[in-house]
């Protein structure tokens, strides 16, 4: 089936099977390997991307469902040339270790801050409760998102 998906602002087309998962369309068809996958049962959130501005699990979305829609992945966060404050926050506050859950966390965090620019720690924890991490114990991720909230307008260098 022919699909047209706008990914990170650019129109992409593909001829795909209906069963192709969005995460595979991104990783394999488009070569955007920043989005990861970590489970079979939609629990881990490593595959989180935006679909029409809303963070979703791309392993539980078919590529054909994104036909005619907008997808945003981690690769778009520094599209302007500078790191997004969430990316800088994760660096500054050691919000990542192995980096595998990180793209998903970043997309969830970015969506949270867009909707709620000044969330408290409890709100952040709730927002990322669908993203599992095995390395950080979450505390520094919460701090990283707080950093991003506090440096929203900060100039961050790539």
């Amino acid at each position: 089936m022919q699909i047209t998906v706008t990914v990170n602002g650019e129109e992409t087309t593909g001829d795909v099977e209906p069963r192709l998962l969005l995460v595979h369309y991104l990783r394999v068809n488009l070569g955007l390997r920043g989005t990861h996958w970590g489970c079979d049962t939609s629990n881990c959130g490593a595959c989180t991307v935006w679909l029409d501005g809303v963070p979703v699990k791309s392993c539980t979305t078919l590529a054909v469902q994104a036909d005619g829609h907008q997808v945003r992945t981690v690769e778009d966060l520094d599209a302007g040339g500078a790191l997004d404050p969430v990316q800088e926050g994760f660096i500054q506050e050691h919000g990542l270790q192995c980096g595998f859950c990180t793209p998903g966390m970043l997309m969830t965090a970015r969506a949270l801050l867009d909707a709620n620019p000044d969330p408290d720690a409890a709100t952040i924890r709730e927002a990322i409760s669908g993203n599992l991490c095995r390395c950080t114990g979450y505390e520094n991720i919460v701090r990283a998102v707080r950093w991003a909230a506090e440096h929203a307008a900060a100039e961050v260098t790539a």
Partner: protein, 797 residues
């Protein structure tokens, strides 16, 4: 601050120890990490493994015709085919053999039976369904406690002469002394304690991309391994391939935690697939495969006895362990220690009598046992002793902090040789415990608890305070004591300083998130004064790094870190010789300051490391002791392990009606010696504490009576989220290791080792009962309160 403040480089990084943001983050936050599943080679094919639905069954027949006939399928490999290559079985890291693809029987649910290679992942998975396997089910051994029963089914009938499911008996300590001490003791408390089967479950599953180049005869394998060199040597031995023609590459690894130490059948199959098809073959397991077939952790059924005086002076501790190893003995641990370092179970206390006996058995479950940050079974040991100490406190009605303080080893006793032969290097234990209690506000917590207990109600949450004091032995290890399959556990590094004064450090250890690219640069920076941003850390490629046994058991800083420090020291000393030549004085007349050798008393007369690097590569006539560079290559054979320790306190609230446990606070004071990068050390601790919450409250791999794995997905094997973890409160003490070049001890597994007991002790304290097993799910807590505990390793009844 307990670490010396280092001066800052022009980039703002500490030239040495201190808080520094990580170099590796730049790629990860952009989604530019390079993990195994990101690797894409021209013409690459995809593999998938067919797995057994049965826990124990004879294989009657395997028909791959339909699968092989699929247009996109390029090969279907079975055990029969592997037999012709002598690869149907492979040696494990424990001297046993393990099936690569089953031939006679399957021995655990999820065991590998066939391997499909196809043009894409979807076609490979489709083809699995077309393979027809006829099984003849056999009764499985699911309960370790029944593995040695007279009528237990024999699992390892592939091994000649085997008549039962016992793997070994192993002992340490002094049984006779224990008998005497226990016989005389005023108080003896006995308890049965299970450390259930759990799983490291890193966010990235295991996988490999294998490429056998037919023309050059070179095998390149990108793979999720914490020990690339060990894998290379093993492939050479197992597959008969010449070792100089094998290149093992660990790209970025999405978490290891001991899950990525061993060689899994899927890797071997991907190699065979590449040999058979002539193309590169990628195999990445899915999550259920990861949970059901890769190295689990723990599964220790322990019976402990603690002897003491009525006042609470511990006199002895002994324990019998039944260890469930699964269908093959595949534990990854030093050869001389089949039960790993479990005999460090004597813990952090001062008493003379100790003995342990470990009986290991086979069962119809996946192989493994040493994984999930266990520090070679120290998680089990620390859990046992810290639970037993609390059981003693319970019986004697002594506050658990007071009981610990009474028995902790004193600083003047170090170095201390334990009753089972460990030589603890250094520690001020009472100080760490006091610090932990100070941060927690221990007295006030007990007051709050007392008030609540004075006014109980149906709905008032029960408050619990639990402690754990642990000592680990990490940094395996001295060659004469520690080898894995005959490969000594020394590790090396090569430090090269380029003419412009920038450096490259090549390591044999392998980060999976611990920050080596940053911390090892900081070690070299600390010694040489070269800014860390000017030091590139290279690891993970066996063609480009020195030999070593890899990262697990928190050994990177103690072993490779030491190697890096020694290498850096040698570089600095070579620089001194060059400086002497350049400044026309004796090297003994030189003084070191901030990365520069200068004439004593005349700071103007000096040369920086950068200048000396150029000089070493230049035209100056070099004296003896220096060839045309400053480079150094070191293999570090540690004289001993290092012994980090910590004092943890957990505060919980338990809903008395539902059994739901909320972790209110967790205070962790760790001592890992000087902290190279405090930010990274704290991150390691945070992660391990979350592991503790997971294991104490929700993680378990249970099996039903048919051998069905009840934790084969993230719907059933529950990992803690941000909601269950509190905001961790950390503290530190610093007791350097006297034998380590920079005094550092390693910390990667400390929190995983120390935290479960603190949480379990807290819950039991809340309930005012002596014992219940992890995980303390709401149902487990409630049933424990009813006096009808749930056994965690079997299906709930």
């Amino acid at each position: 601050m307990t670490t010396v403040e280092a001066p800052l480089s022009t980039a703002g990084n500490p030239i040495g120890f201190g808080r520094m943001i990580r170099k590796e983050d730049a790629r990860f936050v952009r989604g530019q990490g390079n993990y195994v599943d990101d690797i894409n080679l021209p013409g690459m094919l995809h593999g998938a493994v067919l797995r057994s639905p049965y826990a124990h069954a004879r294989i009657v027949s395997i028909d791959t015709t339909a699968a092989a006939a699929q247009p996109k399928v390029r090969a279907v490999i079975t055990g029969k085919i592997l037999e012709t290559l002598n690869l149907a079985w492979m040696p494990t890291l424990s001297g046993d053999v393990q099936s690569v693809l089953a031939t006679d029987k399957v021995r655990f649910q999820g065991q590998e039976v066939a391997f499909v290679v196809a043009e894409d992942l979807y076609a490979a998975r489709d083809a699995l369904e077309l393979i027809d396997v006829e099984y003849e089910p056999l009764p499985p051994v699911v309960d370790a406690r029944k593995a040695l029963a007279a009528d237990a089914p024999l699992i390892r009938d592939d091994l000649e002469g085997r008549t039962d499911n016992k793997i070994y008996d192993w002992e340490a300590g002094d049984a006779e002394l224990c008998d005497e001490v226990f016989a005389r003791a005023e108080v003896v408390v006995a308890e049965d304690i299970v450390y259930p089967r759990v799983h490291p479950a890193p966010m990235e599953t295991c996988g490999s991309v294998a490429h056998m180049d037919k023309v050059t005869g070179k095998l390149t394998i990108w793979t999720t391994t914490q020990a690339p060199h060990a894998h290379r040597t093993l492939y050479a031995i197992v597959a008969g391939l010449p070792e100089h023609k094998i290149q093992v590459i660990s790209p970025d690894i999405g978490g290891g935690f001991g899950n990525k130490v061993g060689i899994y059948p899927g890797y071997v199959c991907s190699i065979v697939g590449s040999i058979v098809t002539g193309a590169a073959v990628k195999w990445v397991e899915d999550r259920s495969e990861n949970l059901m077939s890769t190295s689990f952790a723990r599964d220790y059924h322990m019976h402990g006895e603690i002897a003491a005086t009525r006042e609470g002076k511990i006199l002895g501790l002994r324990v019998n362990v039944l260890a469930d190893h699964g269908a093959f003995n595949g534990v990854a641990q030093p050869t001389k220690f089949p039960a790993g370092f479990f005999h460090i179970f004597t813990g952090s206390y001062d008493y003379p009598a100790a003995h342990c006996k470990v009986t290991a058995v086979y069962s119809n479950k996946a192989p493994g046992g040493v994984a999930y940050a266990c520090s070679f079974r120290i998680t089990e040991a620390a859990y046992l002793v810290e639970r037993m100490v609390d059981c003693l406190a319970f019986e004697l009605h002594i506050d658990p902090a007071e009981l610990r303080m009474k028995n902790l080893l004193r600083p003047e006793q170090f170095p201390y040789t334990t009753p089972t032969g460990w030589e603890y290097d250094s520690g001020d234990y009472p100080r760490a415990l006091r610090e932990s209690m100070r941060i927690a506000g221990y007295e006030e917590l007990r007051r709050e608890q007392a008030e609540r207990r004075a006014n109980p109600s149906d709905t008032t949450p029960l408050m619990g305070i639990g402690l754990s004091f642990f000592t680990e032995g990490v940094g395996a290890g001295p060659r004469k004591h520690m080898d894995i399959l005959g490969l000594g556990m020394a590790d090396g590094c090569e430090l090269r300083v380029h003419p412009t004064g920038k450096a490259q450090l090549r390591l044999s250890v392998q980060t999976q998130g611990q920050g080596h690219e940053t911390t090892f640069a900081q070690i070299v920076s600390h010694v040489t004064g070269i800014p860390p941003e000017d030091i590139e850390v290279i690891h993970g490629d066996t063609d480009n790094t020195p030999f070593g046994l890899g990262t697990y058991g928190s050994r990177s800083t103690p072993v490779s870190g030491a190697a890096a420090a020694v290498a850096a020291q040698r570089v600095k000393e070579k620089a001194r010789i060059v400086a002497g030549a350049a400044l026309e004085c004796s090297p003994d007349d030189l003084e070191w300051e901030h990365g520069r050798w200068h004439v004593k008393g005349d700071p103007e007369q000096g040369k920086t490391m950068q200048e000396l690097a150029m000089t070493a590569h230049g035209a100056l006539e070099l004296p003896e002791g220096v060839e045309g560079h400053l480079d150094a290559s070191v293999v570090y054979n540690p004289p001993n392990l290092t012994y980090p320790f910590g004092a943890y306190i957990c505060v919980v609230d338990v809903d008395p009606q539902t059994g739901v446990v909320t972790v209110r606070r967790f205070i962790a004071v760790d001592d890992c010696g000087p902290r190279i990068n405090p930010m990274i050390v704290e991150g390691q601790v945070h992660g391990g504490l979350a592991d503790g919450v997971g294991m104490a409250l929700m993680e378990v791999m249970a099996f039903d009576e048919d051998g069905n794995h009840l934790g084969g997905s993230f719907m059933d094997y529950l990992l803690p989220t941000s909601m269950e973890c509190p905001s961790w409160e950390l503290g530190e003490t610093v007791t350097p290791s006297p034998h380590h070049p920079i005094g550092a001890k390693g910390v990667g597994e400390s929190a995983t080792v120390g935290s479960p007991a603190a949480i379990v002790n807290a819950v039991l304290d809340a309930l005012q009962i002596r014992q219940a097993d992890m995980p303390l799910t709401p149902a487990s807590v409630w049933r424990a309160m009813q006096g009808r505990p749930i056994r965690p390793d079997l299906a709930v009844e």
